[in-house]
Every structure is written in C-alpha cells, then in structure tokens.
C-alpha cells in the first residue's frame, strides 16, 4: 500500500511543480527500488491444538493467479479466443516469487520459453516422447508440488493421530500423503512426490523430493528437472488463514534456491466440501482423437 501510494505520488510530483513541501512529505520516494512483494504480515497466532500440534484440518484454497504465471503477468485471452471469447480469459496477477524473478540458468530460460510456446500442443503417438509437449495441466495430469497448492481449486487437509497427514486436491483428484518424521528417501519418482513432514512450533514443514521431472510450475512453462527439492511451510495465521511458503531448489535449472509465498484461505461456506474434478474425459479427444476409427 505504501509503495503504491509512493508511486502515485511520484507521478504526481513529476507532473507538478517540485517543491520543498512535496519532498518533505515524500521521505522515501525515489530513494530506493520498490521492495520485494511480501504476503501481508499477520500478528502472531497460536492455532487450536490436535494431539499437541496446530490443527490444520479444513478445506483451503489459494487466491493468487500463480497457476497462470508465477511471475508478473498481464491479463490475456487464453487459447482460442475465436471460440471461447471472454470465457477463456485469464486475469492479470503479481509475482509471488520473492524478488519477483525466477533465477533461471540461461539455457534453462530458453527451455522455459520453448515450453510456453508449446503449452497447448500434445503428441502422445510415441511412448518415448509422450511428455515432450504441452502443459501437464492441459492434459489433466496430477500437478505436483508446489503447483497443486496454488491451482484455482480447494484442497482438504486431513490431520488425525496417525503419522500421516493427507492432502487431497480437487484438481484431478490428486492426493499426497505427508509422512511425519519419516527418514526414508523416495522409493521412486511420482507425480505428487514424496512428502516428509515435521512440526517446527506453529509450522508444518514438508520436504518434497522424488517428483516426476515432467511436471510444470505454471502455464507459462516454468519447469524443473529430476533434481527438484521443495521445502514447504504451512503456518496458521488466524482461524481463517495460513501462510504458505515454498523454497524451490534445483541446481540443474536455477542458479540458486528461490522462494514463493502467499496466503491460503479457509473455505467457510456452510456445508462446503471438496467436489470431484475428473478432467480426464475432457482430454480424450485432444490426446487420442487422431487414433479413432475414421468415420
């Protein structure tokens, strides 16, 4: 809020007569780069307890547009506006990446740009090149982490007294089990990865490895390799909010670890429940239409 106010004032100031008066009421304007965007600060909060730990049970949802693009993005039509009109439009959004930019290695940035160009292309005619084209979301694949958290769908956290916490995502009915205080490594790569959790005071910390390298972070083609390592932090901020943070590390693709953060909101509607979103049937003509019997 303050930086927006500042920028508005700078514009006003540039257009108006610069005076000692204006400079005195704009103590920081023009003196430094805009600060990195951060989630709104919340006062300290102690969540209700379940079995001695913060109780994260509930239906949660992000309201950022990061699934379109983790970084700053303009409003856009989406694919095929000639068919979909304004139904297919995607809203603008601000970066949720700390510092604004994802620190790609130069060659990796080129691959990301290629992904963007190919995001709505598919070719499943060859098992070996099956995953080469197209955003996995476009094909209704399980989204992986952290993308599952900021897709525009709710997810349910089921926390009981067993050493497992379930996160069940509405999109593609994807699920992942968080193994608490688990020592073992991922036995194999999977779409939702291998999640190991631990409590750090008010925060559920989840270490995710073993993700399939084919998943993407967003529709803009942001991607990773098989070396992806994600550390997530879920911190209750009020009865109705959690702060979600994820540190993303992949030395094959990025020059350094980077971080995203945004709030998760508790869905509060009376009797609200996660519903089914089985999108496979909507991809069958797209994926397999070319192999059907000619009419």
């Amino acid at each position: 809020m303050r930086s927006r106010f500042g920028r508005v004032m700078i514009l006003l100031g540039a257009a108006a007569v610069i005076s000692v008066f204006w400079l005195t009421v704009l103590p920081t304007a023009g003196q430094q780069a805009p600060p990195a965007r951060q989630s709104a600060p919340f006062p300290p909060y102690k969540a209700p307890r379940l079995n001695g730990h913060p109780d994260l049970n509930g239906l949660w949802q992000a309201f950022v547009t990061a699934n379109i693009d983790l970084q700053d993005h303009e409003a856009q039509s989406g694919p095929h506006p000639e068919v979909l009109g304004a139904y297919g439009g995607w809203p603008a959004g601000q970066s949720i990446v700390e510092g604004g930019e994802i620190p790609y290695k130069p060659e990796a940035l080129a691959k990301k740009r290629q992904n963007l160009l190919n995001r709505t292309k598919v070719d499943v005619s060859n098992d070996k090149t099956w995953h080469d084209l197209g955003d996995p979301e476009f094909k209704c694949y399980m989204p992986g982490l952290p993308r599952a958290t900021y897709m525009p769908f709710p997810f349910q956290i089921v926390q009981g007294t067993s050493p497992y916490i379930l996160m069940a995502y509405e999109f593609a009915t994807a699920t992942r089990t968080i193994r608490m205080d688990w020592k073992g490594e991922a036995p194999t790569d999977t779409w939702m990865g291998w999640s190991r959790g631990r409590w750090e005071g008010e925060t559920l910390v989840v270490d995710v490895t073993g993700q399939r390298e084919e998943s993407w972070f967003d529709r803009a083609g942001d991607y990773h390799s098989d070396a992806l390592h994600v550390v997530e932090r879920f911190t209750p901020a009020s009865p109705y909010h959690m702060i979600y943070e994820a540190t993303i590390e992949d030395p094959k693709v990025f020059t350094r670890p980077w971080k995203i953060s945004f709030p998760l909101y508790r869905r509060m509607e009376r009797n609200v429940q996660a519903l089914e979103y089985k999108c496979v049937p909507w991809t069958e003509e797209l994926l397999y239409g070319k192999f059907k019997k000619p009419s």
């Binding site: 379940l50 079995n51 049970n57 499943v124 005619s125 098992d127 099956w130 996995p136 094909k139 209704c140 694949y141 399980m142 349910q156 089921v158 926390q159 009981g160 007294t161 067993s162 050493p163 497992y164 379930l166 069940a168 593609a172 009915t173 994807a174 699920t175 992942r176 089990t177 193994r179 608490m180 205080d181 688990w182 020592k183 073992g184 490594e185 036995p187 194999t188 999977t190 779409w191 939702m192 399939r212 009797n271 429940q273 996660a274 519903l275 089914e276 089985k278 496979v280 049937p281 991809t283 069958e284 003509e285 994926l287 397999y288 239409g289 192999f291 059907k292 019997k293």
Partner: protein, 367 residues
C-alpha cells in the same frame, strides 16, 4: 474380469504395489494400533451366514480403540484381497467349510485357477499369462479366514439375485456396452470413449463397493474430527466423508464416485452413497445409477481386521437387495501405500487404438 482388462490395467499404469519397505519408520506402531494379539489370528470353526466375520476373532475380546475425539479408530492401511469368490460356485450348497481339509481343497482349487504361472494352455494363453504372479497380490490366493465359499452372505444361496426385466432404454445401453466390449476384446476399439472406465483411468477400484482384484488392494483410512477419509490405492482419489449429519449434495450435483455421508452405529462406520453420475459403468455390474443405492459398514473386529459389509439395492436391476462381507486385513505399518498414477502414462490406450487402425488397414476384422 477379462485378461484383456487385466492386461490393460497393467500397461496403463505404473503399478506400484504395496511392498515391504526397507525404510525406517520412526513412528512404526504409533498409528493408533499395535501388533495384533495372537488370539486375533485364531479362526472360528463355524460362523453364522450373516456377517460371519464379525466373530472371526475368538479368544480375548477386541476392545475397540478410540481417537482422542471419541470416534472408533480405523486409521491405517488395509488390504481386502482374498480368493473367496463373490458368488458361491454354482451347485454348492455349503456356505462355510467346516473342516480344514475341504477348506484347503477349496483354497487350492481357487489358487490354481487364479495362477498365471501355469503352462497348460496354448501359446496365446501363455502370452496372456505373461503378466504373471510377479505382479499379483499374494494375499488374493487365500480364502477368507472364516472359510466362506462366497463373499455374498445374503441371499442365503450366496449368489447375486436374479435381474428384473430391463427397460428398452437400458437394454439398448447394455447392448451398446456389450458391442464395445466385444470390439475391445477383439483388439478393435473404435474410439477412446468407448473403452471401460478403468481403461480410461477414470474409475478403478475406488468406486464402492470395494472389491478384491489382482493387485493394489489397499485402502488407507484417515480420520480427523468430523471426517473419515478413505484413500483407495487405485486411482489415488480420496473419499472425504463428512460425519456431521449434513445433507447430501443436491440432486443435480452428480459425481463419478457419488456423494457419501457417514455416521457411527456403535463402533460401526456406516456409509450411504448417492448422487452417482448416470454414465454406464459407474454403478456395479451395469446397475442403474439413478436407482442404485449402496450402504457400507466398517466394523473393526480385531486390531488387524475390519469387517467390510456392503448392501446393494437397485429395484431397476435386481429382484432384491444383496449383501457381501469382505475382511480387510491391516497392512504392516512398515509397508507403505504409494502413488498409483494411471492417465499420466496411459500408453495402452494409444496402443489399443493404433493397433486397431493397423488391423483395419491390413484388412483384419479380428485379431
């Protein structure tokens, strides 16, 4: 279940069965249950026909454990594999095999029929069996511990009741389904959407009733205050069941897996599921989703055993309701349930369709 179906299930999926894990589980045994007492392994010589497994554990009575919020505790990974068939073999009037010898004979006969490591067929049979025991759940070769000859306990003959006359509309749907199945079995499917829901990776064993199959017979139960969640291994869906008495979804909000509400009757978890989509194949054995109703009851009868009973009612399909009981066995906490993905690498669906197109090009009507 045809071999083709099973083969497709395999190829379509990166099958990751529950396997003994070499991992170190720091919290083994901390999941609200402990190693089963010896008595729980004992078998009842004779059990009543209705819900017999309820008395499977003799000796020391099982004292149900509860969650901190007071619900019966069913948390853990459970396996429902058994070789006991859904329906009693035709002509048999025995519901429970009293003596150990006939039980062993019955089990061995079933295991022989289920085995894929035999070499007593022709080359084509052998190829179909190439997907062999290595992939299978060994638990599926054992009959239920109460030595029943069918999973169905009601009607008393252990068989699904006769069907009622179908409406012309449903006859038409069934005929279309049968024609599509014939094309599939002949290796000549026309289009992806005519394949079965499991082959299309839309529903597998995650739709009630939960029935034993050749592998991935695992179900993880999670509980939190006000909810029970059943996560079937195949296909990675979570059945999130509100226990707070709220009404079902509105009548026009239908789902592939329906909409489930639960409540406790004593220590028994009772689930009622409605709101199934009307697609063919959603309801068991082609029943009519609009009139189909399923009630499931889960009773933990021992530390390592849940009695899973379900009753199916569909007056548009069967002359009367029928009930089956399947024992669920607790999977050792050292074992894990892994992600079962399906659609993401559904190579098989392309192979099936391209195979059919190639056969057409070569002038082959049938394989």
């Amino acid at each position: 279940m045809s071999d083709r179906w099973l083969t497709s299930m395999f190829i379509a999926a990166a099958m990751i069965a529950v396997v003994p894990s070499a991992l170190t589980n720091a919290q083994t045994g901390a999941s609200g249950s402990s190693k089963p007492p010896e008595a729980a392994q004992a078998q009842t010589p004779k059990a009543p026909a209705k819900a017999p497994a309820a008395k499977a554990a003799t000796g020391k009575a099982w004292t149900p454990i509860k969650t901190p919020w007071g619900d019966p505790d069913l948390q853990g990974v459970w396996n429902d594999a058994t070789s006991t068939p859904m329906q009693r073999p035709n002509g048999s009037t025995t519901d429970v095999l009293d003596d150990a010898e006939s039980a062993t004979q019955f089990e061995e006969k079933l295991a022989y029929d289920l085995s894929r490591d035999r070499r007593d067929g022709g080359p084509e049979v052998d190829v179909n069996r190439a997907y062999n025991e290595h992939w299978m759940d060994a638990r599926r070769l054992k009959i239920t511990s109460d030595r029943r000859t069918s999973l169905i306990v009601d009607p008393a003959d252990g068989r699904i009741p006769p069907t009622v006359p179908l409406t012309p509309e449903r006859q038409k749907i069934r005929a279309e389904r049968a024609a599509a199945a014939d094309r599939f079995n002949a290796g000549m499917p026309d289009v992806a959407t005519e394949l079965s829901l499991p082959v299309r990776c839309i529903i597998r064993t995650d739709s009630p009733p939960y029935l034993p199959t050749i592998y991935n017979n695992n179900f993880q139960i999670f509980q939190s205050p006000g909810y029970v969640v059943i996560a079937p291994e195949m296909i990675h869906s979570a059945r999130i069941i509100p226990m707070d008495g709220r009404p079902h979804l509105g009548k026009t909000l239908l789902q592939w897996l329906g909409d489930t509400r639960g409540h406790w009757e004593g220590t028994t978890l009772v689930l009622e599921t409605t709101n199934f989509r009307t697609d063919d194949g959603v309801a068991y054995q082609g029943a009519n989703p609009a009139t189909y109703k399923i009630t499931e009851r889960f009773t933990r009868v021992a530390a390592d055993s849940i009695n899973y009973e379900f009753t199916i009612t569909d007056p548009a399909t069967w002359t009367k309701p029928w009930t089956a009981v399947i024992p669920w066995t607790k999977v050792d906490p050292g074992e894990q349930m892994y992600e079962y993905m399906c659609h993401e690498d559904n190579f098989d669906i392309v192979h099936l369709l391209t195979g059919a197109r190639t056969r057409e090009k070569n002038g082959e009507g049938k394989r």
